[in-house]
């Protein structure tokens, strides 16, 4: 645990110092019009072009804020003793219905996240859509099953791994001699699912991260406060 903390502090320090060193080369570009934005980033959804292209810097710290919020919920609710009896709804119809909805909402959420650069949506919304299905499933499952299937420990590790991956993706352009957070992958044909360079990759990662974070929040609330 101590090592993880040290590594994360070091990584964050490296990230900030690299940013400071190359601060002069960060280009605060802005497109002249919508066509310009599509040409620059390869994403036909200009919203995605903005928050993952021109303003990736803002988005990185937005992700960090979300992580801190999740940690805060887990920490603050951890003081409340856990509920002895968690009373889920155990009616067959509800269980089958919520299971179906869970699968559908996970697929929809991931689609919204992956296709964020060619249609409306993006990682944040996609993650929450997936988490909504998970919340429905939580209402019908006993606490032990929830804890077995959505293990806190692994989820925390994956969240950290994804966060670090996104930060590294933002730093790789420096090695190639570009300014940080620039799109270093080929842009492809606008409108195709594989286009826009790193935008769909970062969108997918954000989607998984938000999904994990939101599920963690819901799970913590149910664990310490119970349902209904």
């Amino acid at each position: 645990m101590k090592n993880i903390r040290l590594i994360s502090v070091l990584l964050f320090g490296i990230f900030i110092s690299m940013l400071l060193v190359s601060a002069e080369t960060i280009s605060y570009v802005q497109p002249d019009n919508v066509t310009g934005a599509v040409k620059d980033t390869g994403a036909i959804n200009v919203i995605a072009a903005y928050y993952l292209g021109y303003r990736l810097f803002d988005t990185l710290f937005e992700i960090l804020v979300f992580t801190v919020a999740v940690q805060g919920v887990v920490y603050l609710l951890g003081h409340i003793p856990t509920l002895e009896q968690h009373k889920p709804m155990r009616e067959k119809a509800i269980i089958i219905y919520t299971d179906l909805i869970f699968g559908a909402s996970l697929i929809t959420g991931m689609y919204i996240a992956v296709a964020g650069h060619i249609s409306a949506g993006g990682g944040f919304v996609g993650g929450i859509v997936g988490a909504t299905g998970a919340v429905l499933v939580f209402l019908t499952m006993p606490m032990e099953d929830i804890e077995n299937e959505f293990n806190h420990k692994y989820m925390a590790i994956w969240e950290a791994v994804i966060l670090i991956t996104i930060f590294i993706l933002a730093l790789i352009p420096i090695l190639k001699g570009m300014s940080p957070m620039e799109n270093f992958l080929p842009l492809g044909t606008p409108g195709h699912i594989i286009s826009g360079g790193i935008i769909p990759i970062v969108d997918t990662l954000i989607g998984i991260k938000v999904l994990i974070g939101a599920v963690t929040i819901a799970q913590t609330f149910i664990k310490h406060r119970g349902v209904f």
């Binding site: 409340i80 003793p81 409306a120 949506g121 406060r225 119970g226 209904f228």
Partner: protein, 186 residues
């Protein structure tokens, strides 16, 4: 269309502020979110509409509903004794009452308060079913012997709150509570 949705939004927002029941306020907030999501969609911002619908209408509502509920209740029996525990015109008062109230609020629990006339005898505690309480208090000395109950001394020397030995959950958290932040304040 936009004007209608805007007015609906305003009405729901006023509903949130004016409703006395928190649950009703949460429902109004969900309705407000859905209205606003439709409004954003009508204004040509599907991204924002999606975020508002999922976050505002579903996730936030769920979190509020779960956060508002009481987790359970603590059955408290008290012997009327000023200034420890007594009833006033508008509710209860007294040092032990405030202590327990703060403990219950901290753990999102509800106090179920019963008045008993005097310190229950050993026979009552062992046989009478109506003497099933989690906590017995009201200026009790810490040297009493109540079978099945353990005294928890607090900041006032010589006095104690009696907690049922079976309910370990309440006993441990109340002990932490009394040892922790309360004693530091006094």
């Amino acid at each position: 269309m936009e004007v209608t949705l805007g007015f609906m939004g305003i009405i729901f927002a006023i509903g949130v502020v004016l409703s006395h029941n928190p649950m009703r306020a949460v429902i109004f907030m969900g309705a407000f979110s859905i209205t606003m999501a439709t409004y954003y969609y009508a204004m040509g911002a599907p991204d924002v509409a999606m975020a508002e619908a999922t976050l505002g209408a579903v996730f936030t509502t769920f979190i509020y509903v779960v956060a508002m509920k009481h987790r359970g209740s603590i059955k408290v029996a008290y012997i009327r004794k000023e200034p420890f525990f007594f009833k006033t015109n508008n509710g209860f008062a007294g040092s032990e009452y405030h202590l327990l109230k703060r403990f219950a609020d901290k753990n999102a629990m509800h106090l179920e308060i019963t008045r008993i006339a005097e310190i229950p005898s050993h026979k009552d505690l062992q046989t009478d079913r109506s003497f099933q309480f989690d906590i017995i208090c009201g200026g009790l000395k810490d040297s009493l012997s109540l079978p099945g109950y353990t005294p928890l001394p607090y900041h006032l020397r010589g006095f104690a709150i009696y907690v049922k030995t079976d309910s370990e959950d309440i006993y441990e958290s109340l002990e932490d509570f009394l040892v922790g932040d309360v004693n530091e304040e006094y």
